[in-house]
């Protein structure tokens, strides 16, 4: 059976790839330094495949057909879709066997993820994946979460899905060492008057909740309260799901920077 050898979360602001130099150098150094730390750890652990969670940005789905959760079963995933992202266009290898197993096991656990053999990887996946493996050869199973179109999963539901996902990863017989990554968040505002704002107070509070291991405040928080921190901030569902997948590990914040040039609270958390 596989070992879930590594779990972390990172913000995926497009500007971190599209205009990396626009951030204050010290802030960028801190953020990318944390991503280097997890990249080095993944290399040391000889990670064979990564399961990655990210929010939907109307890249793969739209309002005619929008699942809450979708698991990518493809042999490969075209990405990035955004021409302006400074990441080489490629086909990221998939892992259909792992994807199918995750689908079957999470359905058996009571969830209803959609499936797709043709998911594409936008900035939500590619910014974080490229930092994890600049060669872009590591197989990835993408999992898309609906984080912006109500009705939305609560943070409790996201955590519960993460529990099932972690169990599914650990029961996979086809690999030995798998990483789980949550991409998205922290606070940001999209397509609304507060674009450019960052709710630093929320970001630091959220990180403290993760680090404490006591998620009761997060579970108690209704979606409309979470949205006050930004209508893009709901991507932290991926972070909470990762926490659910590794309940015996504590979150450690490797970096947090409010990078206004990237209009995003930028964090990296490692579960260890």
């Amino acid at each position: 059976m596989a070992d879930l050898v590594m779990a972390y979360c990172a913000s995926h602001a497009p500007m971190m790839a599209a205009d990396r130099e626009s951030a204050p150098p010290e802030k960028a150094k801190n953020f990318f330094g944390a991503l280097e730390t997890v990249r080095d750890r993944a290399r040391d652990l000889d990670v064979q495949a990564v399961v990655m969670l990210s929010g939907e940005h109307f890249t793969n789905f739209f309002l005619a057909n929008l699942p809450q959760i979708a698991i990518g079963l493809g042999e490969g995933h075209q990405g990035p879709l955004e021409k302006w992202l400074n990441i080489p266009k490629t086909i990221v290898p998939g892992d259909p066997g792992l994807g199918q197993h995750l689908l079957e096991e999470t359905v058996a656990a009571g969830f209803q993820p959609a499936l797709s053999h043709k998911l594409k990887a936008d900035h939500g996946f590619m910014t974080v994946y490229y930092e994890l493996d600049p060669t872009m050869r590591m197989p990835m199973v993408p999992i898309i979460l609906n984080c912006t179109t109500p009705p939305l999963m609560t943070l409790r539901q996201s955590y519960d899905f993460g529990v099932a996902l972690g169990d599914a990863i650990r029961s996979y017989p086809g690999l030995d060492r798998i990483a789980l990554v949550g991409g998205g968040g922290l606070s940001h505002f999209v397509g609304e008057p507060r674009v450019g704002d960052i709710d630093e107070e929320f970001d630091r509070w959220f990180l403290r909740q993760l680090e404490s291991g006591d998620f009761s405040e997060l579970f108690d928080m209704p979606n409309d309260e979470l949205a006050v921190a930004g209508n893009g901030t709901g991507e932290v569902r991926a972070w909470v799901a990762v926490a659910g997948a590794v309940p015996d590990r504590r979150a450690r914040t490797l970096a947090y920077e409010a990078i206004y040039e990237w209009i995003n609270g930028m964090g990296v958390v490692l579960f260890e």
């Binding site: 309002l63 021409k83 397509g191």
Partner: protein
């Protein structure tokens, strides 16, 4: 009641723009969509404030503004008068 049609129209426009050559942006075509006169007017004029007020998804508004070349500082004037009421949250200390 035709909000979905507005959003589909904008989505189709943005997808088409992905492959468009550099240069002036073409007008939004509203042909084939079931729209009210007000919606057709908003689309024809690229009225971002109207999009927001009628409930167009913010991810679509974001894509439209990016395609139009709007910058961060443009949002507030584009969306003047539609700010949400402040609300207390559990993470606020002041």
């Amino acid at each position: 009641m035709t909000l979905y049609q507005v959003q589909q129209c904008l989505f189709d426009y943005l997808r088409a723009m992905e492959d468009a050559p550099p240069g002036p942006k073409p007008d939004i075509s509203t042909e084939g969509y079931e729209l009210t006169d007000a919606e057709r007017t908003a689309l024809a004029s690229g009225d971002v404030g109207a999009f927001y007020t009628m409930g167009v998804h913010p991810v679509i508004i974001n894509g439209y503004c990016r395609a139009m070349g709007y910058k961060r500082a443009d949002y507030r004037p584009l969306l003047a008068g539609v700010a949400a009421e402040p609300r207390r949250t559990r993470w606020q200390t002041s």
